[in-house]
Symmetry: C2
Subunit: 149 residues, 2 copies
DNA sequence: TGCTAATTGTCTGCTACCGTACAATAATCG
DNA sequence: CGATTATTGTACGGTAGCAGACAATTAGCA
């Protein structure tokens, strides 16, 4: 989604969007030189830190659809970073784990989220951060409520 | 990009992302029943309110790449909502304008951005909104600065 | 046990975004 | 004027996301 139109350009919502795009750009730029995208990074992060899991669990943890996960996983498999093995107990499920190549890549990878957070908020007043967090949290809750009805 | 991993889950950045996704979902849901996407809506909005412009100007205004605009425009042309006419003066440029069908559709369209803003922030304390806006604006500036270097 | 859910992952089709490279066209400078 | 450079839109490949439909498989209930 592109930039806001004029009337909303100064709203918190518009700035949340601006901020999100900027942080996303930084994260993507950080990862691009390593040849992976943000979601691929999140998947590796999860697998490295939580151990092998099913695609279903991974999709739940990262809050993306099974169909999306399916695509991301096949990309990672194609790159040889992740192995996708059918579960012996339940033939429907595929268990994912990081390959040796995946671990090697991971070892040389920065944490793009930590970098972005540091660049964004280091040294900013804690009370202000708390207010911003509260406002965004409440707004998100109201939007989700609105989406249900 | 999916959800944050644990350590950052309570940060302003994480909530900005959550908020962005929720607002995007509401905007997309609002527009889906009319058969267009958010970016298509922004393009129509711009063309209706600013009159015919070149693709270049439109891409600048909406802060998206020429390549992206090219795709969005060809979708709108395919739907018969926008006309793409080569400029007589400069054969490189294509001038975009809303067709009659486009205006008819536009007349029946809600403003999804205004709806989302209202659902998000109506009745929220103005001082808090100002703080949140300031924090996000500053963070965005810091990120963009970081991206330049 | 056997038929009917429900679950899991995939496939197709769509939107949307970027980066790189390219052809066509215009502008500029020697 | 002619060669170089800049601009404009497009093509292609990659990433990421959703919705809906589907086959395979499992679970649950009559």
């Amino acid at each position: 989604m592109p930039d806001e139109s004029q009337p909303q350009h100064d709203s918190v919502g518009a700035w949340a969007k601006q901020y999100y795009f900027a942080s996303r750009a930084l994260i993507e730029a950080t990862l691009r030189e390593h040849g992976i995208g943000p979601t691929q990074w999140y998947v590796l992060h999860q697998l490295v830190n939580e151990g092998p899991t099913t695609q279903r669990e991974l999709a739940l943890a990262l809050k993306i659809e099974r169909a999306t996960m399916s695509g991301v996983v096949s990309t990672l498999v194609r790159k040889g970073l992740v192995a996708q093995i059918p579960d012996a107990a339940d033939q429907r499920q595929r268990i994912l784990s990081v390959t040796a190549a995946g671990r090697t890549l991971w070892a040389g990878l920065p944490d793009p989220v930590a970098l972005a957070t540091a660049a964004s908020f280091e040294g900013v007043d804690e009370a202000d951060l708390a207010v911003a967090r509260r406002v965004l949290q409440a707004a998100t809750a109201r939007l989700l409520e609105h989406l249900d009805s």
